[in-house]
Symmetry: C2
Subunit: 355 residues, 2 copies
């Protein structure tokens, strides 16, 4: 027999379902700002698509002056843009809603962060022009399948209003962290819509269509809509911009710690503007102290924060974290409950026990 070395120990994604593949990241392991393929959460509506990338072309059609089909090679010739972007599933933290909401029970790990390189969508639209009646830009993915609420085969498609589509930060990405996009995350081309929940960042782009009306696809008119009421659709509105939010990565909820000095750390992010403040309360919200930023704060990127806590008393302690952004948005005491469980961003709260 040989000398036994302890096998390597690695963190895994948390498997919620395999068909489609839905996996989230244990939040304590989101340390690298260029999250690797291995730890990048996976959120799919259908099985992975199968298509020939050797004949890959991107057509832009519909209410344009002249339709045009771009080859990948051509797209690579345009001036590129690289952005550090948080991608967060609209259902991130769904598990925390009370009363509980049906659907994938995402905890806090349906979020990722990395560097996306591509060409602004507006650059491509300059070649096709826009018809005067153009209202929305529909981006269709190669992923396709049946939904529980109908027997039709549908593609995953999402639209953007012209203003967001023409924003110079809305890009058709072809690289992630300096490499071609991993297949599971949209290879060869993925729309990246910084500041919006990730359902807008369509993977495996098949075609782009300019339309003259409001898009009615089920992933826009049925799903990814905030329904504030349990039993009717009154006051519903679409899911778009990421809410200001934060997550504690260390310590973990219900963890047992020693007396002494502990670093409390985590991330904060928002859809519009920058994170300007992350406050911590150790007395259930009576008083708040500022956490330190341990990374720069930039639009669309997440910010790392830290607080050094010296604790002598044994017993239970509650830790609250509240992030504020440059638009004045603050995490609320209570989340906005909605029937499909999107956009949870209540003040982050965990409990620990000191022994």
């Amino acid at each position: 027999m040989k000398k036994v070395e302890s096998s390597t120990v690695r963190a895994n994604l948390i498997t919620r379902s395999l068909i489609p593949e839905n996996k989230e990241t244990p939040i304590q392991f989101l340390k690298d700002d260029n999250v690797s393929d291995k730890l990048f959460y996976r959120r799919n509506h259908f099985s992975y698509p199968n298509f020939l990338t050797s004949f890959y072309y991107l057509p832009i059609e519909g209410f344009v002056y002249s339709s045009k089909t771009f080859s990948l090679e051509e797209i690579l010739t345009f001036p590129p843009k690289t952005l550090k972007v948080v991608l967060e599933c609209a259902g991130d933290k769904r598990d925390l809603f009370k009363p509980k909401v049906f659907g994938e029970q995402w905890e806090k790990g349906a979020i990722s962060h990395g560097s996306w390189k591509g060409v602004p969508l507006r650059t491509l639209l300059q070649f096709t022009g826009l018809h005067a009646d153009a209202k929305e830009i529909v981006v269709e993915g190669y992923d396709v399948g049946e939904r529980t609420d109908s027997n039709e085969i549908v593609h995953f498609s999402r639209s953007l209003p012209l203003e967001k589509a023409l924003d110079s930060n809305t890009i058709i990405a072809y690289e992630y962290n300096g490499y071609p996009i991993p297949f599971k995350h949209g290879y060869p081309l993925r729309l990246i819509v910084p500041g919006w929940y990730a359902m807008a960042s369509v993977k495996w782009i098949k075609r782009i269509k300019v339309i003259d009306k409001k898009f009615k696809g089920p992933f826009q008119s049925v799903d990814y809509v905030y329904y504030p009421h349990e039993d009717n659709n009154n006051e519903s509105f679409p899911v778009t911009t990421i809410n200001v939010n934060s997550t504690i990565q260390k310590p973990l909820d219900m963890q047992i710690l020693n007396t002494g000095i502990h670093e409390i750390k985590g991330i904060a992010w928002t859809g519009v503007g920058k994170i300007t403040k992350v406050d911590i309360s150790l007395d259930n919200g009576a008083t708040w102290n500022a956490c330190q930023f341990t990374s720069s704060t930039e639009n669309y990127a997440w910010t790392h924060w830290s607080y050094i806590w010296e604790i002598k008393e044994q017993g239970e302690h509650t830790i609250l974290i509240k992030a504020t952004d440059s638009e004045g948005n603050v995490q609320p005491e209570k989340p906005m409950w909605n029937r499909k469980g999107y956009g949870y961003n209540a003040i982050e709260r965990i409990k620990v026990k000191i022994e």
Copy 2:
């Protein structure tokens, strides 16, 4: 560019911590009765031990007539015994206690099942004999480290009363599912104590010591003790036998389903005797129906059960599962709350929504 094949999609263990490595299994993927190393939950108290298995010997000493040290080769010559055994962490389902309990927040996947082959501990003890004052048998593992409650370095050690130690089903195992035990699960020798929570099944056995008193190691006198009270240790008693229990593997809690016919399925297990009955209630416990067994029911093994549900009404539905064993033990309405969160076995309850 090449044709893109959808990458293979595989279930992962859920990572709770890396040092020590604590990972549980997403319960919907526990299908095989010989759970593979990849899906076998991992529960450690310390980092993986490092030791020379090329010089591996098993000493048995203490209150015996004559101490003896066994070589692996010698152990392999004794008549073997193979058992199908459920290993369940005493903290399995801890996450479900209300009020919540501090510690690893295990959900329902700190359980596994497989075939263990080895030699009964009693066979080895026949070589050493037992001193008349012998009271307990202490099994010490190679895993070692510091605990949060002291600065001493301690080994993971557990004792068994003579009666359980001499039970012909208590074995020193050297094979799991027909192969040498995977390192992370106790290679080369692991004590297997069928019917007891898995802390008793000591991994990486270093030595066995017969003592003339009650063993006081911290993993027996501090941890793995039921403390019924929040603020004192009154009425505490040791964690030993696995409570009768069950888990629903399909559908999942808070899942959204179509109207029509669905198979509800899962597992049931108990520490003493066999599972004799698994009942399901679809009206919050007013009426119960028997589930069908889809596997044999044997001592120490888990039993698969199934129920075909035809559902036409949309809306929310609660599914309750209640297992009974041959000793007349039944899953209780409420769990026995205890400060360290062991032995949760309340009636299994999930909610689904029919659309």
